[in-house]
């Protein structure tokens, strides 16, 4: 039987990660993600894992990639300013296909901003923050319970597709304590691994039926080269434009061809809805409350929530937009995912945005107002 436990979002993030095998964490303190590092410092040695506080966020990201290369599931956590600093090495992990999970507990920006205030201002950055075309997966939880289960999914996707996964929390969820049920049974996906001196091994060739190259952990007998330069299937750098095209296209397709597996969404009360509110992360909580209220007033409104923010659930939203009259995008920023929504929805239904940039949460009342206005 599963147990009901009181847990903070940041803590659930660590416990979920440990539950699915995370055994290395490198980080640098920053509000509001700091508790994640603190819990890891406490918990990891108990499960024979390693925690290290590095000299900065760049080094933390590098160490996480290093540990993953050695075969260990690895994670780092940060917030806005630190997330900006990690970008170069996130791109490296993306290009060299090193699984790892980067938690960004968002706070109010830009720059140092309001360090202790909630926000969802890094949504576009999480997709586009590093230079060059690159694949990325971004997930966003809306409760402490979901934080626990979704961080496991983050690792699963990262391991399966050998790509960095951004776990985009908000301060609101990170600092919230709720009762959660620790699931008895969780599904764990580990990266496929090759070991033991297959010298003919092409570490970046994708075997039939796989969606990513099979991983050869350092130190297990399969010596090869990893680089952030354009490389061929052997892992050696190349200037060949044929190889360059092959590599980048394959990286991007790894995600594109598997959107159905990667994308997760939640819909509520959309069957009969005239209006849908698109929201994600912590904002969902206000939206649910507002919808309840609105429905009690007879307004037929539903919710559409991308759990996977990137790749963006185009298909799902497009379908929904054909059924409703109005889509309200509610996000805790100046307008980011709404741009994607506009792109996807086209002229299918009308579109309205409700955002906020003052460091306080969007309240249910504000959402309700947006629903009632037309």
């Amino acid at each position: 039987m599963s147990r009901l436990v009181l847990m903070q979002g940041n803590e659930a993030c660590v416990e979920g990660a440990i539950a699915c095998g995370m055994r290395f964490f490198a980080g640098y303190p920053i509000t509001p993600s700091t508790e994640i590092a603190e819990y890891c410092a406490l918990r990891l040695p108990m499960v024979k894992g390693h925690f290290i506080q590095m000299e900065d966020e760049i080094a933390s990201m590098a160490a996480v990639i290093g540990a993953s290369v050695a075969g260990v599931k690895s994670m780092t956590a940060t917030s806005g300013p630190g997330f900006s600093l990690k970008q170069e090495n996130i791109g490296y992990a993306s290009a060299a296909e090193i699984p790892c999970v980067i938690v960004n507990a968002q706070r109010s920006g830009p720059s140092t901003g309001l360090p202790t205030s909630p926000s969802q201002g890094d949504v576009m950055q999480s997709r586009w923050g590093t230079h060059g075309d690159h694949p990325i997966i971004v997930l966003s939880p809306s409760s402490v319970s979901e934080t626990y289960t979704l961080i496991i999914r983050a690792f699963n996707l990262s391991e399966k597709y050998r790509t960095p996964v951004i776990f985009l929390m908000d301060e609101m969820v990170g600092h919230l304590r709720e009762g959660i049920e620790i699931p008895e049974h969780i599904e764990i996906v580990n990266r496929k691994v090759i070991k033991g001196g297959q010298s003919q091994h092409m570490p970046y060739r994708i075997p039939d039926g796989e969606c990513a190259p099979v991983f050869a952990p350092f130190g297990e007998g399969d010596r090869y080269n990893i680089t952030g330069l354009i490389h061929d299937e052997s892992g050696f750098p190349t200037n060949s434009h044929i190889e360059a095209n092959r590599m980048i296209t394959r990286l991007m397709r790894k995600i594109e061809d598997n959107v159905d597996d990667i994308v997760a969404t939640e819909e509520r009360y959309t069957e009969d809805a005239d209006i849908a509110v698109l929201c994600y992360g912590g904002t969902t909580r206000s939206v649910l409350e507002a919808i309840d209220e609105a429905r009690s007033k007879g307004i037929r409104v539903g919710m559409f929530r991308p759990i996977t923010l990137w790749p963006f659930p185009e298909k799902e939203l497009f379908k929904l937009s054909g059924k409703i009259k109005k889509l309200i995008v509610a996000e805790h920023n100046y307008g980011q995912i709404v741009l994607e929504a506009e792109r996807v929805v086209k002229n299918n239904c009308s579109l309205k945005f409700t955002g906020k940039v003052d460091g306080t949460l969007i309240s249910p009342a504000e959402i309700l107002r947006a629903i009632e206005e037309d």
């Binding site: 436990v5 416990e15 055994r23 290395f24 490198a26 406490l42 918990r43 040695p45 108990m46 499960v47 024979k48 390693h50 290290i52 590095m54 000299e55 900065d56 760049i58 080094a59 933390s60 590098a62 160490a63 996480v64 990639i65 290093g66 540990a67 993953s68 290369v69 050695a70 075969g71 260990v72 690895s74 170069e88 090495n89 490296y92 620790i182 001196g197 350092f218 130190g219 297990e220 007998g221 010596r223 090869y224 080269n225 990893i226 680089t227 952030g228 330069l229 050696f236 750098p237």
Partner: protein, 278 residues
Amino acid sequence: MASQLVEKYMRTEHLPHIWCPGCGNGVIMHAVVRAIDKLELDKNKVCIVSGIGCSSRAAGYLDFNTIHTTHGRALAFATGIKLAKPELEVVVIAGDGDIAAIGGNHLIHAARRNVGMTVVVINNNIYGMTGGQYSPATPAGEFGTTAPYGNIDRPFDIAALAAGAGASFTARGTVYNPAQITSCIQKGILHKGFSLIECISVCPVYYGRKNKKGSVIDMIKWQRDNSIPVEKAGKLPPEELKGKIVTGVLSQATYPEYTEEYAKIIEKVSGGINYEQA
């Protein structure tokens, strides 16, 4: 067929390497494998970690677990590898720019923590890969493409900087004396903790040309004529050491190694309370 050593430790299918004629990188890479060979390390347990630069391309040519990372970050990647799998023998190869310009912070912190790894710095006094800009190891007054009027920065003494930050082993050699480099690297690997070997290299193409140092042969001879073994240097007055290269094992001390200390924590708490049930 190349020499036995080269065949055994290098990815010969990728040779000749991309380095310019006469470049010191090849000699130093040779010394690295010679040291590893002498120590009879298990190839599967050796990791070579490099950053970005001419020198850092070495990783690709070596038949170990090799990773060519981002500019300046090799030590931070290496720290992750070593901590995750302490049984690995981690060797970092990095240029003077990589380790002391953009990577300076990781250098001082890795040295301070005393993480068990060996850092081979290829110091050619310039940014080679990007075409000859001055580096933190370019002597004051010399030229680079970004120092057209002579460099006004004072250079670092890289080995001394590392020692000052806490490196428990530092040494220096020159391309003129590959045997000495080999022996320093060997000692560095054997040393428990963080070790750094500064290898004074030659970049005839950029540093040499920009500073009218003559041919690569002239440059190597200059090294020969201006190196002083540390044993001898200790007896000389500071004036006589100006502009000279002091070679050999420069410093060595015993401090707790980081991964061993961490192992003790794990030992202590991993059998301990189950936090979830607390």
